[in-house]
Point group: C2
Chain length 252, copies 2
């Protein structure tokens, strides 16, 4: 599109080839030529700001979205008028996969902080996957990974107590940030306590109390949105559920 020499204002539009996320994102493991072809269908919009929507539930499904910088939350309306936060999405993560089937978005995606987003028109993407087997495989893996993640969340919501849930949440965030070259132990939360609680199936008050408790126990420092994990090992053992000896789980 831009055949000008002007690249200053185009700096936002980093090609996949030069994007630091290429190892986490769709291009992962693709041949350079194929990355190039993928790159051609990616739309890169101007940065979005806190509160902007990528799409709303009920919208026609047209594109997948990939977070380039910033963060996004997805949430589904519940029949009673409330909502369930389904996920917080970091750079390299793909959003909208659940809409391929019904062709209608069943959830909304809202930007949590100023973020750059790549848009992949799905019809064009499907044309590519049909001719690039490794990209097809990548898409299958991506979809499968999402299922695996949901499965983890089902286990979390179905079997874990408040303490285990929050510890798991913090560690998941920590790991994902670390993969993106950020500190695993010192980071800022882009979402509110309310959103964390909603995501984890807990009341805000419970989340707040647990932050306080974890801090008192020397597991972490909390200052507003600023988090420092002090004892990752202990947090991990909390998730394991060995915290207190809970009754042997039902074997159905």
């Amino acid at each position: 599109m831009s055949h000008h020499k002007v690249i200053s204002l185009e700096s936002i539009r980093i090609a996949c080839r030069n994007c630091s996320l290429s190892s986490l994102c769709l291009p992962m493991g693709l041949a350079p030529d194929d990355v190039e072809r993928l790159d051609e269908i990616v739309k890169r919009t101007r940065p979005l700001h806190r509160g902007d929507f990528l799409f709303r539930d009920g919208d026609r499904f047209r594109s997948l979205y990939v977070v380039k910088t910033g963060s996004v939350k997805t949430f589904a309306p519940s029949p009673e008028g409330g909502e369930q936060v389904l996920g917080f999405h970091l750079p390299g993560e793909v959003i909208g996969l659940d809409a391929i089937d019904k062709d209608i978005h069943a959830c909304s995606a809202k930007v949590l902080e100023t973020s750059a987003i790549c848009e992949l028109p799905f019809t064009r993407l499907e044309e590519l996957t049909a001719t690039i087997p490794s990209l097809q495989h990548q898409m299958f893996r991506l979809l499968s990974k999402e299922i695996g993640h949901d499965t983890d969340m089902l286990l979390l919501l179905g079997k874990k107590n408040a303490e285990e849930r929050l510890a798991a949440f913090l560690l998941s965030l920590s790991k994902r940030l670390h993969k993106r070259g950020l500190s695993a132990t010192d980071f800022y939360l882009s979402m509110s306590r309310h959103e964390i609680g909603n995501y984890l199936g807990l009341a805000v008050e419970t989340v707040s109390r647990l932050f306080t408790r974890f801090q008192d126990d020397g597991l972490m420092n909390v200052d507003r949105k600023h988090i420092q994990l002090l004892d990752v090992g202990m947090l991990e053992s909390l998730v394991g559920g060995a915290g207190q000896n809970r009754r042997q789980q039902q074997q159905s």
Copy 2:
């Protein structure tokens, strides 16, 4: 494989083309020629019996499995030694999608009653999807549908109370059985109360009490595994959560 005229013992091995599930299963919407090609890679094993495993968590991922008749449950181990039931699978439903990414099964699949299962070696399936765009699309939809279903479960586990969960479970079962040509209001449960409770994040006792209550309220008849839904409309309104006026949900 069988070029004999003997078809009696081969009757189990119904080709996709003749299978009554073709409209629900992978072949859905495929051209007859393509169904034929798909059919060639399907392995049809002898019937499995209650308690048999399709695969166990930790197993290498090789194939997807489709229920032809009977039912299957999938469940994941939790670190404490318990397990979380992830789903109950009816004819036409595909199992194992979560393992494509990691190449290792993270959950186990166990047959709940005598069942016929089709096995689809994934490598061969991927070769097909690469040459049959409509099959590729079908696979994307299938994976996406699974994500959508998981999303529904997250909402259920995160926001709904015991009553709403059980009502939702019964209605989901009812709808799915109906799609398969069975009665929507009169059916047998192939899973135990324990398994239902585990799936819904509830104790067995709670499930049992709710069955009793629903029966007392004239919503259904329960006799052991035999279920008759008497007031589907009321069950639906229970799921909506309008049962009692619960506090307006958090908007995060």
